[in-house]
Amino acid sequence: MNAEMPEGYLPGISIIESLGTSDLTEWLRTELAGESRTLSGQDDDFPVQAIVNHFRYLSPTAQRRLTDAVDLLQVSFKTSPANWMADQTRNLFHLIGELPVPALITKLQTVAFDTELKPVIGSSYLILLQAIARHSTNTDRAFWKSLVAHAPQYAGMALQVLARVSPNDVLEVLEQLPPKAATAATLGAFARALPNFLASLEDGDRSRAISRLDSTRRRLPSTVSYHLRGALAVAGFGISAGSAASHGDQELRFGRHTTKFVESFSQDSYVSA
């Protein structure tokens, strides 16, 4: 037994290790439906957290069988969605996001763009996108760029992923947001990702990015641009109060020395926006 493994995991580990892919698939289908609890944990661990907790202590062979089972279940959902309960589907998407199954990404992307499946997925569409996002790399940028047009209400997540995997694309997509996607929700999502995005850039690239962000901000309706302005302030890149109050062409200030000013700006203008 792994020295760090809680003793209580052992029975569950033994069960998973003993099952072949076919039996494991059925076991997993039942667990995801919440109809059986063979693993260890608190009530609110079930089913996804409990599976994730045990997964790391499985042998490589059992881990592969379990990820194969996840793959078979996503095929099952895709071909017979009516056989899946809403919570079970959501739990499957959560689990795909947690396990190392990047090979599923392409398959899930087709699920996301399937017009017949989308109504079946319903509110779990957000969780499906989260699963795709967790395994996305630069090679998936086309999916996220097209999502902005395909499902504009999720453009915020597309911007977050692009900010991480394709910094060049994120600014371009932001500058060309279709009206349906240029919402407070989209800009709010980007604002939350902005500190990490800016921190990931080299100094010169960061200055250029901020300049482009400020230009974009000025083109957006004020009902949504306040998110961007505020996020820049929180990230330490403020806009002078005087010019902000009286001119459209604001002066950007960079660096930590503006922190105090930025905090004041945030309290006065941004928070009440």
């Binding site: 996001g97 977050q160 945030s266």
Partner: protein, 280 residues
């Protein structure tokens, strides 16, 4: 009602079955041994439901003797009606309770809230949910930054636990005092002090502070409350009838035990911000 008194209320057949189960468990693995010890040491019940619980366990004696996981399922099925059957606990008006939840797990439940409440306008990727929750450490909700508002609103709509929800508090009881000190202890200390032994090591915790709504009662936890796998970490409080609460049994003896109660599931509507994050 102490376990012995409850046992004595069983008819002879059930009593024999129950004794058989306990005897088998005492010679078995550590989880069964602890479950037997917990049942024998149980002294917190003051109602006849405890006798019903014991009777239901005795009725299932054959199944309870079977290997895991049927034991788990049987034990938890029998215990479900009695999760909150312990004695009424300390008065809760004006008290602040605390609960530690794995940050990654709560991020998943908060994502579900965002999915079910599109009016919150939050469509973050999972890693961003985790990152944003970390930034809420010490962040007051009185004047939230615009891009964080959906998080404060979402937390208020998200459940703080399932089944019998265990909560800690400050003793001696002081009204409006948070159970979490600052600077915040690290995740290892929290996991140990709250006895969250089935949680994986090395993960961050979100520390919630909240009030219990007036229509909710705190109860003394009993051996039915923690479920099967947490029997290993549960210890009945022999002084529960006087103290009106239980105590955690820290995993690492270097950490102090904490008082604990259980209550029904509830949403985070009464969460008192700021949250704290205990880092791994």
């Amino acid at each position: 009602m102490p376990f012995g008194d409850a046992r004595s209320q069983l008819d002879s057949v059930r009593k024999q079955h129950l004794d058989g189960v306990l005897l088998a468990w005492e010679g078995s693995d550590s989880l069964r041994k602890q479950a037997a010890a917990n049942l024998l040491g149980e002294a917190a019940f003051e109602n006849s439901e405890h006798a019903s619980y014991l009777a239901s366990l005795a009725d299932e004696h054959a199944e309870l003797r079977a290997p895991h996981p049927r034991v788990l399922q049987a034990f938890e099925r029998q215990g479900k009606p009695f999760l909150l059957a312990g004695a009424k606990s300390i008065p809760t008006g004006g008290m602040l309770f605390g609960r530690a939840i794995l940050l990654r797990k709560f991020a998943r439940y908060l994502s579900n809230t965002f999915a079910d409440h599109p009016e919150l306008n939050c469509v973050d990727e999972y890693d961003q949910v985790i990152a944003t929750l970390r930034t809420l450490d010490g962040n007051d909700a009185t004047f939230p930054k615009a891009h964080l508002r959906c998080y404060f609103a979402g937390i208020r709509l998200t459940s703080l636990g399932r089944g019998a929800v265990f909560a800690t508090f400050v003793t001696p009881i002081r009204l409006n005092e948070s159970p979490w000190e600052r600077p915040v202890a690290d995740a290892h200390a929290i996991r140990s002090a709250i006895a969250l032994g089935e949680d994986p090591l090395g993960e961050d915790y979100l520390l919630f502070t909240y009030n219990l709504p007036p229509n909710r009662f705190a109860r003394v936890p009993t051996s039915a409350s923690p479920g099967w796998s947490y029997q290993r970490w549960y210890r009945p409080n022999p002084n529960a009838q006087v103290e009106l609460h239980g105590w955690t049994s820290p995993i690492d003896p270097g950490h102090s035990r904490r008082p604990e109660v259980v209550h029904e599931e509830l949403l985070g509507a009464t969460v008192v911000f700021p949250l704290s994050v205990a880092l791994a």
